[in-house]
Symmetry: C5
Subunit: 359 residues, 5 copies
């Protein structure tokens, strides 16, 4: 069972706003990349020295800072202090077990999103384990800062669109960029769902046909994975829905229609997850009734064999008795008569079972 | 288990608004038909050359364009660009796995509906599989455009009413036409429900009487089909309910009363589906208790036979022993006494079972 | 299983507002009765010729038209057209499978109510089957029209109160009459509930004591009947609640307090139905555990008999062997020693079972 | 199973506002007591002659009329007509199967409350049966009228506080008195809950340890009792919540804080009832798995005994055969060899069972 | 089963606002400590004599009074009367079985919170029992009073921050102090959740592998513990949510963002508890199917052994009969033929079982 809470004992009792990285320790050093673009230009570079970068005045156009790795608290604090991010926000960035949420700090919006990806299980191909990573996104005026737990290329398609000036991204503002990044993350959910689809199919075949001891853990594991996906997506839906209400001046009207599209996708994801949940719940029922059916079959075989032979054995026992005067024993064809009696009673019992539809 | 997600990996990471047909590949070429009518006239023709058609100025009256097949992206794009449809809307038309939804783009409304029809199963008449196809509908001023996945004659009754000037359709505007088309689609849901009705009845008879190994899959399949129907109808109800609020100037007051009728039908469909869901849930319970009952019966037979003969066999065994001095063996009527003993103990056990109501 | 949908295939694709009677075919001819009253007078007559009646000018006071039978579409249409009833409303009157609903057409209110009555089952007294009939009610200024599926005397108490000028009905307007008719219908629900009460009691006794094969279908049938009652009452509650909001000028302030009373009754009916649903759900649990308990008892008997005699039979078998030199066989009291051994082992096993509390 | 509906057939079809006592027939005559008080005085007397009492002009201060018994319709009607109570309200007083509710008639508030008390069960101490009685309360200006089904001393503590001028009741108005009476009723709920607490504990011990045939009915009975308590408390919560909104001029601001306290108590009662419901639901699960466990144990014993002795009996059977030439029979120590064989196979089987952890 | 209600019978019928300590009797005497601080100073002392303390005029800055132990009613009353706390509020402080709640008395806010901690179980490490203690908090202008049931050091981290002037607490007002105390309490919930996490894991291992009789009580106990945690946290969430709405002038704008952080934590706690609840519900299912699987295995062993040997024993019985003329007995290799027959039939049955996948 995956741990849902960890590292909290370390944090309990600390001053609110204290930056303590809660999450897996990333080994790689933090890498900050910057992408600056406008309708006519796009410039991309790795920020080697954060001090110099922050000291340089910002040229016009949209700036997208991407921070890969949140375990280096110093980097987060310097960025946060430079851009005036609230200490609690900074704390949420490094504490990577947040639920998706939206916080409106007036000058900037803070979004917590979560990436889902499948953790391959070495032992059993039918066990799906879902892992999630926090993606924090700050949306300011002409500014987007994203914080990833690990170096990942999930945003690469968006980066390419900016580089090659495809789509509307270069022509639009920072809010469209934030939308494009959310869209990429939500699109990735469908890949996890496709995996669910395959797994549900193979589990169903297993359960209907010949469930083995690994079937039950696989069902449970899938149930749990879906609880987890739902835990990630439900609050995200609320986040996007809050963005759609357009209460922040940072989200322009033209972007709302795109956010509505993301919202639609999320509703669909929720819908599909709920459907799978119901189906997997049904699998459990089938599994239990398959067990019952099997037991029934085992019992029938036992009953048929026992019921046929027990009376026969009794008859044989009777004529194995050593009484002085058992007349049948001395009949001429007594032995064959007894065989006849046994055959008849056996056949009668078989007919009885057939009438009961046990054969 | 039917796939709920497919083709998404193909789409992930693309620019929003990119037209990629997600759905089954239609073999037939796309066919566009136009129907133009007013109170006194109705003109119907196949659009052979889209360019010429779009270049021709539109005469007064309502124009209904029906596009059969959405896999030809070029057709969708040209129509969309001509009528000023948003790129995301065009994307939704070709990506035919949308949930029913309503989007108000100001100048036009975009509705996604879904047709339900039963997929006949060759192997087993008791397995009902429901398939659905997307129907996209754009409602503008004096304009309705419908997009179907496959050539279908579901709209034929409406077309006939226009041709023959029956009902109010010729006298009313484009919003009434949109209503009439939705009405036809919702009416078709009842046909699927009638199939459910028959199936639930036959399943109940099977479960109560003599469930066989196909009963369980049939119950599961029906459950799933109903989940799917619900997935289609619930959001459609919200769509119609949103139309009823009459916030769009494209829906005239006089049409709202008709939409309320569609809404009523949908509420009834939802109601019936929910009722069947509860009933099918009950079938599962009966199925499991029928299994238990059967097991009980098997066990009783085994117990009765075994319990009667085991003591008798023991008695026979006793007098089969080879001790030198077993006095009973040499009694005159010893053999018959033993038979008497056996009969008495057998009868006593039968009486015991009768008292337990096992016989 | 009762059919929830029927006759829809006949209707699908027709022009909205087409009158097609969906429901059982009533054999009797349609009968229209009129009751006209004011504070000082009440006049009652059968409308033999609808044309003459509708041509006669209406005197002051309240007019109540009661139409028994809705299968004669001509009658409905002529009444509807005379009083200006919307075609969709007329359609709903003849299509007698509506859910309870309220529609405000401005000049008149249209209410669909449903009568519940028990369908006696010839075979089994424990099977309760609930049938329902649609009662359509149009409330206009000084006008109430009621449409019943069958000739029934359910409104007789109200008619008597008008005839004998008892209560407030003669002094009040058409809205009070509508209330009085609804009140009579809701009061009848309690009669169905009393039947449930009796049945639940007898089912519980059966389930706790000695469930037989008819118990399970009876539980299922009762569950289903309650689903059906709920399907009728829930929407009716919304209907009355909508009337209570008093948005229509047709409902006078003084009548609202009476409608609140109807609403209270409905809430109580819902409450009672929900309680029975929970109780019947519990019956299913008891039924299943009674099955388990029985199985347990059967198994215990088998185990006790088999476990006692199997070792004894083995001992007898041993001394039935034909080895040349089995010393025990030639002991003086060998036979009695063996009996002693058998008795001791039998008694030990009985003590073992007693310690396990199986005896 | 307790009857939830009764006496309705008697009422159906009557004129609304007709007073028909629905409930158990109280034997004792109706007794009306009056308590008049102000900050400096309190006067208490039994109203022997209602006519005289009502004719006497009311002195200043609060008047509390307490009516014990509602089966004397004449008393209710005379009081009701004197104080201008609506006929439907009078009907609700005598029909003692109301749900808790609040009705605001402008000049006075009408509250229906319910007392809960445990009906002791003579046969079985583990069966808890909850009964409830209606308490109707009319709150007017300087007037409180309470109607009880039976003579009870539940209000005695409040009466004492008035007599002895303890607490704020004498200094406050009629609304505080109404609050004090509600508070006493709600406090009594906790006594019923304490009984649940004890019972749940003893049921849990029984279920975990050694459930007997009375355990299941006891669980069911407790479930049902809790459904009933919930049926009483949920609507009462709404009643108090409606009072809290302070829409009636009859409830003074200073009293609202006290009503909030009652509301808190009710929320706690709901909370505790829900918790017990979940726990008792869990008991059912444990009960069923205890049954399964027992069956398992029975089967194991049978299997162990049968599996050990069946092969041994077979061996004995083999050497009981009468073939002419069975060499083993004539071996010198053949008999002991066979014993050895039997011992070895028995020990091997015992080891097998131990490996399976059945022993 | 933990008692949810206790001591109420003592309280029923008392005057509202009567201080009766409901809860465990604390042995230690009540200890009151005061902490006064401002941006530049912090003073901390034990209040030995309450009278003197209350008589001394309050210096500027924030005063935090911490009362450890609420069983000394005199202390509560004197404090309450001095600071003008409502009698019902005083009653809630000493009656330590309140649900978390927020009450706005205008001049001060009253919050009831609950600490959760694990009660170690001596007997069984897998049984988790959660206990909770009430923490009452009064927030006035520049004043915070906290009431604890027992002397505890849970607030020590906050006290240290004030002493050492770390974080914002010295620079902020009483509302920030109240927030900091709530934050400390909520942070402690995560410690309880971590214990759940460990336990759920070990239970899952037990259930999947080899459930023993203690597993079921452990699951039940965990379920119950989670119900209890939820009972504590759900209302607390509403409390914080109400504070967030910022309707009280006592909560400054700057503090709201911190309260939002507490709210986020609570939502996460709720989320995790709900997830564990679903998982533990799943454990119950696995447990039951593990029981079924075991039964299946037991039955299979019995069936295989019995089914193989019963026919063989019958054959042996046949040739143990004493008929005069059984030809086979006198065949030369009859004995070996019979062994052959037995071997063949045994092998055939083994093959049958293998085909059934029972071996």
């Amino acid at each position: 069972m995956q741990k849902l809470v960890s590292g909290f004992s370390r944090k309990a009792g600390m001053i609110p706003g204290t930056l303590v990285h809660v999450g897996e320790e990333g080994g790689a050093p933090v890498r900050v990349t910057a992408l600056r673009y406008g309708p006519d230009h796009a410039e991309e570079f790795v920020v080697e020295d954060l001090g110099t970068f922050l000291a340089t005045p910002t040229p016009p156009g949209v700036t997208w800072l991407n921070v890969e790795g949140v375990h280096d608290i110093e980097v987060i604090r310097r960025l946060g202090d430079h851009f005036g991010l609230h200490p609690l926000l900074q704390e949420d960035i490094v504490n990577t077990e947040q639920r998706p949420k939206l916080e409106d700090y007036g000058d900037y919006l803070f979004l917590v999103l979560r990436m889902l990806y499948e953790q391959p299980s070495a032992e059993n191909d039918d066990l799906v384990e879902i892992d999630s990573e926090q993606v924090s996104l700050v949306l300011g005026t002409d500014l987007v800062i994203t914080f990833l737990e690990d170096p990942q290329d999930v945003f690469e398609p968006v980066r390419n669109r900016i580089r090659e000036n495809r789509g509307r991204v270069r022509k639009s503002g920072a809010d469209y960029l934030a939308y494009a990044l959310m869209d990429v993350i939500v699109d990735n959910y469908f890949i996890v769902l496709e995996r669910f689809s395959d797994l549900a199919e193979s589990l169903e075949v297993a359960v209907m046909g010949d469930p083995d001891p690994t079937t039950l853990p696989a069902i449970q594991q899938m149930k749990r994975a879906m609880i987890q996906v739902r835990r990630t997506i439900w609050p995200l839906r609320d986040v996007v829905s809050a963005l759609l209400r357009g209460e922040s001046r940072l989200i322009k009207k033209a972007t709302v229609v795109y956010l509505r599209d993301v919202y639609d996708h999320l509703v669909r994801v929720v819908d599909i997850v709920e459907t799978y949940r119901e189906m997997v719940g049904g699998l459990m029922d089938i599994y239990l009734s398959t067990l019952s059916n099997r037991m029934n079959e085992v019992m029938k075989v036992l009953t048929i064999i026992a019921t046929i032979f027990i009376p026969l054995t009794f008859i044989a026992g009777v004529y194995g008795m050593n009484f002085d005067n058992i007349p049948e024993l001395h009949w001429r064809h007594g032995y064959w008569y007894v065989w006849g009696l046994m055959l008849v009673s056996g056949v009668l019992l078989l007919l009885f079972f057939r009438r009961k539809k046990w054969l």
